[in-house]
Amino acid sequence: MKTLLALVLMAAPAFADTATVVNARIGPGYQRFAATAAELADTAADTCAREVLIPLFNDTFDAWIAVAHIRIGPVEDDGRGLAIAFWPDTRGTGKRVLDELTQGTAPLDGFERQSVAARGLFALERLLYDPAYSSARGCEVIGAAATDLQRMSGAILEEWYRFAGLMLTAGAPGNHRFLTREEATQAIYTQIMTGLAFNADMRLGRPMGSFDHPRPERAEARLSQRSLRNLRLSLAAIEADALSLKPDIPRTFQAMEKARRFADRMDDPDFADAATPEGWLKLEILQQLIHAVIEAAQNEIGGALGIGAGFNTTDGD
């Protein structure tokens, strides 16, 4: 009997807990994001005092980063994900449109129809941290942007439950979004992997540029000095998601802890030190540590569950 049980256990396929990620991570994450965005918008309706709004802005940004790597479901509708955090803005569209808005007198209703580059957290960052926008009109734009952000966060939360239902009934008849259970698991896995790659290639890669031509001015959220903070929070959130999806991932866990410990020891909030050889090398080490996480996760999560980045996704032709 014992032998039989052991055999059954051995034969059991590697287990992916998609439901825990969906129910215990993403849902509550959107709840926090909606709650913080609501508080920011409510407060911005009364005051534009920076010392009041900035902490609420940072709470909202923190809450967003915890779910920012999830790019499936309602966050992908109507360009919400882009509008909430449009970075990098390679063409400087956000600044241009905000300049027009703050210098103009046109009514600000219909803010949700503005360019995605001029909305969301990066618009609010500019409005709150750049003294050039401290006019009365700037205050009105803050109110409009905060309301728009609250609206989007609320819509995502509301619509998430329906989408979560599709993920949890993956493969069931009539579910045309996820045709097999693997597709839902793979969707979560893909968010984890692209989230890790975003931290390595974008959050670190853009300010790094090259050793001979570092680009610290390209760091994310420099104005609010959140570049390193965003990276740390993102790694922590992705780690929690990965462990929820598949608790038994010792090598990935080890690699993640290593990367997080290294990031925790860094003292370069906006990656300005990318301009110095020593600072640049630190960013490169962190980038390599994240790549090591990606490699470990590919084996321990992707390999073990028999899912990859996609047969055609990895082909590129």
Binding site: G79, L82, E183, N312, D317
Partner: protein
């Protein structure tokens, strides 16, 4: 069912001199796929999604070309390709194996002439990625010659319907002959090249977007829709669809702002539906993007690892790496699912051409 059909088809093939696509069960589409044992095969798929035949391939496939009248398909290897197999789809037998001449590689695509007597293959000189169109006798499948494709790294080639003019997507990317790594991203000059009898008729470039590699083509009348992949900064929003008519400037079709990164800088395949809609797939984006005939973006559909797309009655058929075959009319819905990973392309067998002989 498929087996019985094949047997019947075999009997018919021996009894009647003229064999057509009906003898292969009238497949609507061809697609290569990886099987659960990691081998590869070309599949004939009926319009209801059923697999009519499955013919082994020696290595990973890419696209195929269907003979206009005979039930014959040429299955191309994924580039850099060392093989192309001519398959008799009625009997499931190998008719010929094409090997590129010394120093050349197949690039995954090919096209037959209007009368079906010539097969053209997309090729590169392995050392330089300089483009060539291989010319093969489509009876004996002996090589008759070749001519320059008009650019670097040609990918898909198509014949303009009703003519023997070829349009070639010269992707512009020079790749390492062994590992496909890209060698000239800063100096790319992709183009769309029209050729008749090997003579260049027209060359269309995109000077403002030199790093947009033109790779895949869909034709409707005299219009050519082309799908691209962006080799520049992935944070730059770019159009991945273009439409061209000879004698006019190409139109670049931007996605809606909210969808500007939905395709992750990459289009995998393109198809033009009978109702005029243009569909593009992006495996990394896990999306199918639909545009109107004039290129206006219309909608996005989520489908993980979607890649193959071809016209289907009332819309499109779409294959993905998870083994599903879906149809997209008003919405995306599953048709069938096989335990395979469908490869990049779904190739429609043009029944109108087949009927007209």
């Amino acid at each position: 069912m498929a087996t019985r059909r094949l047997v019947l088809a075999g009997l018919l093939a021996s009894a009647v001199p003229r064999v057509g696509w009906a003898d292969a069960g009238s497949p609507a589409w061809l697609a290569a796929a990886r099987l659960p044992d990691d081998s590869h095969a070309l599949h004939g798929i009926a319009s209801d999604g059923q697999i009519l035949f499955r013919i082994p391939l020696p290595a990973r496939g890419h696209a195929a070309a269907a003979h206009p009248t005979r039930p014959e398909a040429v299955a191309f290897a994924r580039s850099p390709g060392t093989y192309a197999l001519v398959i008799d789809c009625a009997t499931g037998t190998l008719r010929a194996r094409l090997t590129p001449p010394e120093g050349r590689q197949f690039n995954g695509h090919g096209a037959f002439s209007q009368d079906g007597t010539v097969l053209w293959t997309s090729e590169v000189l392995a050392e330089t990625s300089e483009g060539r169109v291989g010319v093969w006798d489509a009876r004996s499948y002996r090589r008759m010659g070749e001519f320059p494709s008009g650019g670097i790294g040609p990918h898909e080639i198509r014949r303009i319907p009703g003519t023997d003019t070829l349009v070639v997507a010269n992707g512009g990317i020079r790749t390492d002959p062994q590992d496909r790594s890209k060698l000239n991203i800063d100096a790319m000059r992709p183009n769309l090249c029209y050729l008749t009898d090997g003579m260049v008729q027209d060359v269309v470039e995109l000077p403002d977007f030199a790093q947009l590699s033109i790779r895949h083509l869909a034709l409707r009348g005299d219009a050519v829709a082309f799908a691209m992949q962006w080799e520049g900064d992935p944070a730059e929003p770019v159009p991945l669809l273009g439409i061209h008519r000879r004698g006019t400037a190409p139109t670049l079709c931007w996605p809606a702002e909210a969808e500007m990164f939905a395709m992750r800088s990459y289009a995998g395949s393109i198809a033009w539906a009978d109702d005029g809609r243009i569909g593009l797939t992006s495996p990394p984006g896990g999306v199918v993007m639909i545009h109107a005939a004039d290129g206006t973006p219309v909608e996005r559909h989520a489908r993980p690892d979607a890649s193959g797309i071809a016209p289907a009655p009332g819309g499109f058929a779409i294959t993905d790496g998870g083994g599903s075959i879906c149809v997209l009319r008003d919405r995306l819905s599953p048709l069938t699912r096989e335990d395979v990973a469908w490869d990049n392309h779904l190739v429609a067998i043009d029944s109108t051409i087949a009927r007209s002989g």
